[in-house]
């Protein structure tokens, strides 16, 4: 007779909700929100309430697999590990360490990302490590690091309630960060203005004081347009500009040409509306910006974020309670995976690999020489695999066969590898192509830490024993390193990994497991007395002065034409998570939504003679999907929306892999498609 509640953190989005896994007689029996947790406060979204449901799914990978002929067959750990270790060694010896690439995981713990990063850099000796942050907030990391010196959410989730104006753009907050949307509504109850700028009429738009609907891919134009109005009207914060920033004159010159009429021509936004948005944002005492992929997943992603940073600095709306720039991170631990250096150009805490002093510190601590040149990013790794310069990929907890753009190309690339090692909790389209598959543990079976969207480091706890023969990711990496003769990953457990990481990472230096036992800490936290940092850039920016980086609007890489007359934009839906490997195995979530639909405006539907639930074929220059139509005014005429969560109607068969030149993020949010009704063959 036993009933236990094990305190943990939600494994879905980046909100970082505290929850309890309920165990009755040692079996997972439910999930319950924590009433005393600062983010969840006794509530969860439907995904959080269902967090336990996928853990013991029949479909969990229970044994290692290896490819025999055309099939994956189960085997034991020793066979799988020795096989993978030998192949990795052979490929590194014969083609060099840079012939091997690593995709880390924003679903795994900080400790596991650190171990994986250390394995790539110190055991194999390559900087070719990246993860799906490339496909979400890479532009944020690049742009905010340039403008402010730190590429993370400036404020905290609870702090949003302090705002007097919240500008939400490119974020379908209520569907994808529900607990943040809760704070937006609470702020509105307190009297805050809510301004939603989005090409789609999202749920939150119904609660906005002002809803602005620009055309897809015109973000720099409307943001520059707002700044143009603010400067014209003298609504900017001169004192802040003088004390805290540099290069204001350059910005002023750049936005001068973005007059309301010019902006209307590009974006379709009426000058009056833009003016109202500018006024609300600039003149409110504490304005916050919330944004996600609608801003970043463009070939102009970095520019979009730079423009938002300019807007915040221009009006002095950063570094105060309720006032700042808040990129909402998608995955439970995408912030952490970035912090841990699972990126090709940085070690932990964004210490540059090509900075000799920083790299030297790691070389000394790890007792080995490390590569200096930054490695390849996600999409470049896939391209390099296709062209043959990458021979092996080791993928931990990612599913590029669904998450990456142009998946037909991804399939060709992965199929041409000499070795594909996949480590996951479920079989997925990527693992199906693997040479060897390691079964890993879910969040409920291991210890570790996640860093949620507001830089909040929190502990997860082991609730149940590993399912089947699965092992925690860090342990698999450790075993592989041992076989390859590298002692550097011989950690006794996650705490030892965390301590080593913290000793090399100034922003995490003051964090340790005993401080995290029952509370969370927000980095930077520089020593054991440091209470953490809920708000960044209060007195000065991380880089000293904030810098205005003027940006000009550029159109999307692919625009509509006669052959492909509709815009496609992609995203997520409330009831599923990313590639669906977890959420689609949750009965609760699957009951709500078991298949995808393409959102079509009724006007377009009429033109195409499409009715609700009709099967349609959507094609782009790269592929096609068949999918059922959902008629909704959430999308404007001329634009359709497909969620990327569903394998059988994969939006990323259509998307454009064209990349942002700085951050290398692909343009998931805009491509040109054609849609036609699929006429069912009449059976006589």
């Amino acid at each position: 007779m036993d009933y236990e509640t094990v305190m943990s953190v939600c494994p879905y989005c980046g909100c970082g909700c505290g929850l309890y896994l309920e165990l009755i007689d040692g079996h997972l029996a439910g999930t319950m929100p924590s009433c005393t947790h600062p983010i969840s406060r006794g509530a969860l979204c439907i995904k959080g309430w269902s967090a336990h449901e996928f853990v013991e799914s029949e479909d969990r990978l229970r044994k290692p697999l290896w490819k025999r002929g055309a099939n994956l067959e189960s085997t034991d750990w020793d066979t799988a590990l020795y096989f993978a270790a030998e192949r990795l060694k052979y490929i590194a010896d014969n083609y060099g360490p840079d012939s091997i690439g690593f995709l880390s995981s924003a679903k795994c713990t900080n400790e596991e990302n650190y171990a994986f990063m250390k394995f790539a850099r110190s055991v194999v000796g390559t900087n070719h490590i990246d993860h799906c942050a490339r496909l979400c907030h890479a532009p944020t990391v690049a742009a905010l690091a340039r403008s402010f010196g730190s590429g993370a959410m400036t404020n905290s989730v609870p702090d949003i309630e302090q705002s007097s104006c919240i500008l939400v753009t490119g974020s379908n907050t209520s569907e994808n960060h529900p607990m943040v949307a809760a704070r937006v509504l609470a702020a509105r109850e307190n009297g805050a203005y809510v301004v939603v700028v989005d090409p789609r009429r999202i749920h939150l738009a119904e609660y906005a004081d002002l809803f602005v609907q620009p055309r897809l891919g015109t973000d720099v134009a409307w943001i520059n347009g707002m700044m143009n109005i603010i400067i014209e009207e003298g609504w900017h914060d001169n004192d802040f500009i003088i004390r805290r920033t540099e290069q204001f004159e350059e910005l002023k010159a750049c936005v001068a040409t973005y007059t309301p009429d010019v902006v209307r021509d590009v974006t379709g936004v009426e000058p009056g509306l833009l003016r109202l948005a500018a006024r609300m944002y600039a003149l409110s005492s504490n304005s916050a910006i919330l944004y996600t992929m609608g801003i970043t997943e463009h070939t102009t992603g970095t520019d979009n974020v730079l423009a938002l940073a300019n807007l915040a600095m221009l009006t002095g709306q950063v570094g105060k309670p309720g006032s700042g720039i808040n990129p909402l991170r998608g995955q439970n631990n995408v912030q952490g995976a970035c912090d841990m250096g699972a990126l090709p150009d940085v070690l932990t805490g964004y210490q540059k690999v090509d900075d000799d002093e920083a790299r030297g510190k790691f070389e000394e601590a790890w007792g080995t020489a490390l590569p200096r040149e930054p490695g390849l990013t996600v999409v470049e790794l896939i391209d390099a695999a296709a062209s043959g310069s990458i021979k092996a990929l080791y993928i931990m907890g990612e599913n590029p066969m669904l998450s990456d753009p142009d998946i037909n190309h991804v399939r060709e690339a992965l199929s041409s590898l000499e070795l594909l090692v996949v480590q996951d909790i479920f079989m997925n389209p990527t693992a199906e192509l693997a040479t060897v598959v390691f079964p890993a543990c879910s969040f409920a079976e291991k210890e570790g830490t996640f860093t949620s969207t507001d830089r909040r480091v929190q502990k997860i706890r082991k609730a149940i024993e590993p399912v089947g023969d699965s092992k925690p990711d860090w342990e698999i990496i450790k075993l592989l390193a041992q076989i390859m003769g590298s002692p550097g990953l011989d950690f006794a457990g996650p705490e030892e990994i965390f301590d080593e990481m913290a000793s090399l990472t100034p922003t995490y230096a003051g964090i340790n497991y005993s401080r995290l036992e029952r509370s969370s800490l927000q980095w930077p936290c520089r020593d054991e007395k440091d209470p953490g940092t809920p708000i960044l850039h209060r007195e000065s920016f991380t880089r000293g002065r904030g810098v205005f980086v003027p940006v000009e609007w550029r159109p999307p890489a692919e625009v509509v034409d006669e052959e492909y007359p509709l815009y496609l934009t992609t995203g997520r839906v409330h009831f599923h998570y990313h590639t669906g490997t977890m959420s689609r195995r949750s009965p609760t979530l699957n009951r709500e939504m078991s298949s995808a639909a393409v959102d079509v405006n009724p006007e377009d539907a009429e033109d195409l003679d499409v009715e609700e639930n009709d099967l349609v074929k959507v094609s782009s220059r790269r592929g096609e999907v068949k999918i059922r139509a959902r008629l909704t005014r959430m999308v404007p005429p001329g634009t359709v929306f497909i969620p990327f969560n569903f394998q059988e109607s994969a939006a990323n068969a259509l998307t454009n892999p064209a990349r942002d030149p700085v951050s290398k993020i692909p343009e998931f949010k805009v491509c040109a498609v054609r849609m036609e009704k699929v006429t069912p063959r009449v059976v006589r």
Partner: protein, 278 residues
Amino acid sequence: MDSPKTPVRKRELRDSAGLLIGSGQVAGVLGLRRISDHVEPYFFRTMEELENLSVNGKYPIAGVARRLMVRWPDEALGIVARGCDERHLIELVKKGSIAGDRLRLIGLACTREEADECRCERPFPTRVNAGERIGLCEYPPDAEMEMMLDMEIWDRRRYWTDVFSRCIKCYGCRNSCPLCNCDDCRLEESRWVRVGEIPPEFPSFHLIRAFHLADKCVGCGACERACPMGIPLREFHRLIREEVKSLFDYEAGLTIDEKSPLITDFEQGPMKVTPDGL
């Protein structure tokens, strides 16, 4: 384990729980434990564990008790019960979901502040083991609800449409409610509520819950606390409870013997209502 400074209510609660565990009559005591800043449901089985037994914090713990009693059909269970928890348990016994004779309640009276937080009119269980019964409480009507009740019917509908459109269909109201526990939940059936949409259809999702709970709701407010979007569910259900009270002179959760007036069979004929009702 107690210092002289331990507040009386806390000491009383620990002593009662300790006596119950010591008596061997129960498999354990379900209550809340405090570990640093967090209060969480916990199943206490030893005296030592009672050191962390918390008098603060509110979790709808009767729902946990129900699930445990289903799982452990032969065990008796101690449970720390505030007034609302006891009323939940009474309703669960009435519904036949749990066996009352397997329950040993440790009654915890709420403080004035705790009562005010929930606007609870009856912040104590029938027998109090810990804390002091502050008596029945009265609260001025909720200003927003008063305003709403003064509106024309179409404006009222608009008010509720607006309020319920915030819903993101987390089912937190259902999940947190110890009494909203049908085996087959209508809210999940696409014939009643279209699946996969937020907000869920108005008014079906919320009115199904309202009607299902009309004769069960004890007004604990767990649904409202579990609602991330700040929907005023406690007041919503209060209005319905008041209707039931004025129509049938019936309140849920007070005694085990009193049957719901909404349960009837055709032989009894129409439901009886109070003279000033209907």
